[in-house]
């Protein structure tokens, strides 16, 4: 599972920065049928955690009510240079992980 992540570039210490993440995932609801009329099992990214230098700053529990290719836009305060780590898992147990380096000046 791949994801696209955008973080406000070159923040100063204390700045509020915007984090946008879009994960490539069908977010299958479990209500759809395939060509043979069989129900396609529910499979959604049910959990996403964002850690900033190993401290959890954001967590999302999602259901089938989130659109395909889930998109999230949230904020955090730039405190120190380091790394943002995103981890997510879907109903089938498939996990995804992405990291973004962050350089904070000032």
């Amino acid at each position: 599972m791949t994801a696209r992540i955008q973080v406000t570039p070159n923040p100063k210490r204390g700045d509020v920065i915007e984090i946008r993440i879009a994960i490539q995932h069908p977010m299958e609801t479990g209500f759809r049928l395939d060509d043979g009329g069989r129900a396609i099992p529910k499979n959604v990214v049910n959990k996403l955690v964002c850690r900033y230098n190993n401290v959890e700053i954001f967590r999302a529990e999602m259901g089938s009510g989130i659109a395909a290719n889930p998109f999230l836009d949230f904020f955090t305060v730039a405190e120190a240079s380091g790394e943002l780590v995103f981890d997510w898992v879907d109903d089938q147990g498939q996990t995804g992980s992405e990291r973004v380096a962050l350089t904070v000046t000032g």
């Binding site: 759809r32 700053i57 889930p70």
Partner: protein, 153 residues
């Protein structure tokens, strides 16, 4: 006589076959739990006040499969006073609890955007838990032209 009965049976079968694709293919976890009960589970029975929360959704959504949603909470987001969690409910969705988001004082700004699915025109509810133990909510009405969830394709 015999011919008549056969025709009746045939028509009944034809009707059944035609209706079959419209039978809802519901997931096993779709319960009858109301939004009120879900809210009570989060608040523990505490009073939910209106205000301080802004829920932004389009008034008219052409396609319920992807509707942009934005929640904004009036909170200083300091270690003493911050937003703990944001819960989104859409009562007409087969699974009304759309998502739960957990924030903390390090969020800096109590704002969040995402894209949701809506199974019909309805009033969407955002419930916010603050660190001081109070609960706040906001609603937004959305008219959905094409619903998500039931397009058994």
């Amino acid at each position: 006589m015999l011919k008549n009965i056969y025709r009746r049976g045939f028509l009944a079968q034809l009707l059944a076959v035609c209706a079959w694709p419209f039978a809802p293919a519901r997931g096993a976890d779709v319960g009858s739990e109301s939004v009120e009960a879900m809210v009570r589970k989060v608040t523990g029975g505490a009073k939910v006040e209106t205000g301080r929360v802004k829920l932004e959704l389009p008034v008219l959504a052409d396609n319920g499969n992807s509707v942009s949603l934005k929640v904004n909470v009036d909170s200083p987001m300091t270690p003493a006073n911050y937003v703990k969690s944001i819960h989104i409910y859409a009562a007409r969705n087969p699974r009304p609890n759309v998502a739960n988001f957990y924030l903390g004082p390090r969020a800096g700004r109590a704002q969040l955007s995402t894209r949701v699915r809506l199974g019909g025109s309805q009033r969407v509810l955002a419930l916010v838990a603050l660190s001081d133990g109070t609960f706040w909510s906001a609603t937004a009405d959305v008219v959905v032209t094409l619903s998500a969830c039931y397009d058994a394709t």
